[in-house]
């Protein structure tokens, strides 16, 4: 069973994603801020990470930067789930080698599932 780590501070979205992805037979781990997310990534070595950008304690960009410095973590694919969708942000995300990104208001959970499947195939 593939392991997915969701790092997202918005409780509702976190719950929804967790529910949808559990239904798709993934093993889900959650974190509610960047620091917790990074710790859990080190602990559990997930197969994929869903990552929010603006979060308490540590933002998404910093999480990616820290992961990129870690030999064990840097190969884990990341999908950004962000809110603002400003192009500056997206460009920075791409520079950091992120696999895919989506803007929360433009997508719904079903589409997230589709993107996850595509990455894990």
């Amino acid at each position: 069973m593939k392991k997915i780590l969701i790092i997202e501070d918005e409780e509702v979205l976190l719950e929804l994603l967790q529910k949808e992805l559990t239904q798709e037979n993934y093993q889900i781990d959650v974190a509610r801020d960047g620091q917790e997310g990074l710790n859990k990534a080190k602990e559990n070595k997930p197969d994929l990470i869903l990552l929010d950008i603006i979060m308490p304690k540590m933002g998404g960009f910093e999480v990616i930067e820290k992961m990129n410095q870690d030999e064990e973590l840097k190969s884990i694919p990341i999908i950004i789930i962000s809110n603002s969708g400003q192009r500056v942000e997206l460009d920075r995300v791409k520079e950091l080698g992120v696999k895919d990104w989506l803007i929360k208001t433009d997508f719904d959970p079903k589409e997230v599932v589709a993107k996850v499947k595509k990455q894990l195939e």
Binding site: E10, E20, N83, S84, R87, K104, T105, K110
Partner: protein, 500 residues
């Protein structure tokens, strides 16, 4: 015979003498210049008519008088007389003459000695010229010059006062590019004192870091190009300035230049805060909206459990309202970005046809619902690709089609077509809807404007769509316009320049 001859000669001589005397007398009476004849000790022995007129005295009073007594400064007159005796002739000595009744008259005196045939000095002529009028004229002239100078001085002081109290930094240069003024604000900005740099050219000054930075910012020249420059200073605080150079024009001639330093630090700060606000607002507003969207979607998809028909219909309405809210926030963010002037982001070569097809695809549900016919008249030949910001052009077509559908009557038609020539692509979006009232056509592209009939028809519009369209098209170097017939429909056109 000899005696007779002598007699004749002496008679002739006498006649000649008489003639000469008469001539001298007449001449003396006629001469407007006052002349006094004095003996070697300075006693007046003769005066002419003009001298009597000038002094107001007759000859009984004047003759026998020491000449210095008719002047106020007798010492000066004596001294003058001594000089005349010594150097035979002295001209143009100004003195004050005291006339009858103590009246003082400014005069110009020239004098010259008289000699007999043995070269002995026998006296002296004093020509006294009344210069009252000249003096008056001279004084009024001086007064005028003084007044003018004072006026000019006042004007200069006023100008200086204005320049000094100006809130912008100002450096004034003469036509040789030498500094003639640095106002206190510029002193403060550049961290220097006016006297350190006065009457020097910028390139002759060294050791003033901020002034050097300014010179760098201007491209190491002080010239009027009409261009605006930007200056960033770190000392003592980080500050941003807009620098402009303007000619100083005096009587249609360029008399120099001035550099104006306009502090835009605050504007910069506001810009930064605005961007930050937009980004925070985007996050804060969109987060709950995405949560709502996702929850409703899951409910509608039956993930939580089966819904009744009625429940599903209500939730569908809720979902759509939420979608409108999201697009409203997107519109506001777009407007904020337009106003920040960083709306166009990345230009790539795109096929307009593909963009249009993609937008049309997304609208099919709405078109069906309103029982409209949406026609895309594709061009016969392949269109050249255009260099555009794809997302923004999508937004334009989306907005125009949204309007064409939203303001259409049920059963109506929307037509979109594209044509091209050497210079540009032209897109037309035509509807058979309510049209735009004549009185409101001028304001159609204005921010937050909504036409009266549009408000009645569709209550949820923001009045931002066409404002955004116009900004996007113009940022691409294109044009947007429309024609409308109330009750019959509206046609919008826009152009995009094709890549060279």
């Amino acid at each position: 015979m000899e005696k007779g001859e002598n007699h004749f000669l002496s008679r002739q001589l006498k006649e000649d003498l008489e003639n000469l005397e008469r001539y001298t007398k007449e001449f003396s009476v006629f001469l407007p210049l006052a002349v006094c004849t004095v003996n070697p000790t300075g006693i007046i022995v003769d005066v002419n008519q003009a001298a009597k007129r000038l002094t107001g005295h007759d000859e009984t009073k004047l003759i026998g008088l020491e000449i210095e007594l008719i002047f106020t400064e007798q010492q000066l007159a004596k001294e003058f007389f001594r000089r005349v005796l010594k150097s035979k002739s002295v001209e143009n000595q100004e003195m004050i003459l005291v006339a009858r009744g103590g009246k003082k008259i400014p005069v110009n005196v020239s004098a010259s000695i008289r000699k007999d045939d043995q070269d002995n000095i026998i006296g002296c002529f004093w020509a006294i010229f009344d210069i009252t009028e000249i003096k008056k004229f001279q004084e009024s002239l001086e007064k005028k010059v003084k007044e003018r100078t004072k006026e000019a001085e006042e004007e200069k002081n006023k100008t200086r006062a204005v320049l000094i109290s100006l809130v912008n930094g100002l450096i004034v240069f003469d036509k040789d590019k030498k500094i003639t003024l640095v106002n206190p604000e510029a002193e403060k900005i550049l961290g220097l004192k006016e006297k350190e740099v006065l009457y020097k050219r910028i390139d002759q000054i060294s050791g003033l870091a901020n002034l050097e930075k300014l010179y760098q910012a201007l491209g190491r020249k002080v010239e009027w190009t009409g261009q605006k420059y930007e200056l960033v200073l770190d000392e003592p605080l980080k500050r941003f300035f807009q620098v402009s150079i303007a000619p100083v024009v005096f009587e249609n001639k360029t008399a120099g230049l001035m550099i104006i330093l306009y502090d835009i630090t605050r504007e910069r700060e506001i810009d930064r805060m605005k961007t930050e606000f937009v980004s925070i607002a985007a996050h804060q507003l969109r987060t709950p909206l995405s949560a709502i969207k996702w929850i409703l979607r899951m409910l509608l998809d039956g993930d939580i459990g089966q819904l009744s028909q009625e429940q599903a219909e209500f939730l569908e309405k809720g979902y759509r309202s939420n979608e409108r809210m999201i697009s409203l926030i997107n519109d506001l963010l777009n407007v904020a970005r337009i106003e920040e002037g960083r709306f166009l982001y990345s230009l790539t070569y795109q096929s307009l046809e593909e963009i249009i097809e993609k937008v049309i695809e997304g609208l099919s549900g709405l078109v069906k619902e309103k029982k409209l016919k949406l026609v895309f008249n594709k061009p016969k030949k392949t269109l050249p690709k255009v260099k555009v910001d794809k997302e923004k052009i999508e937004l334009v077509i989306q907005n125009l089609l949204d309007n064409a559908i939203g303001f259409n009557n049920s059963g109506g038609q929307v037509t979109i077509s594209v044509k091209c020539d050497k210079m540009k692509l032209e897109v037309m979006v035509q509807d058979t809807g309510v049209g735009i009232p004549r009185s409101q056509r001028k304001r159609i592209f204005a921010k937050f404007f909504r036409a009266d009939n549009a408000i009645k028809l569709e209550t949820e519009g923001t009045g931002l769509g066409l404002f955004i369209c116009k900004n996007i098209i113009e940022a691409h170097g294109g044009k947007i316009w429309f024609e409308s017939q109330e009750g019959q429909g509206t046609t919008f056109w826009f152009t995009l320049p094709t890549a060279q």
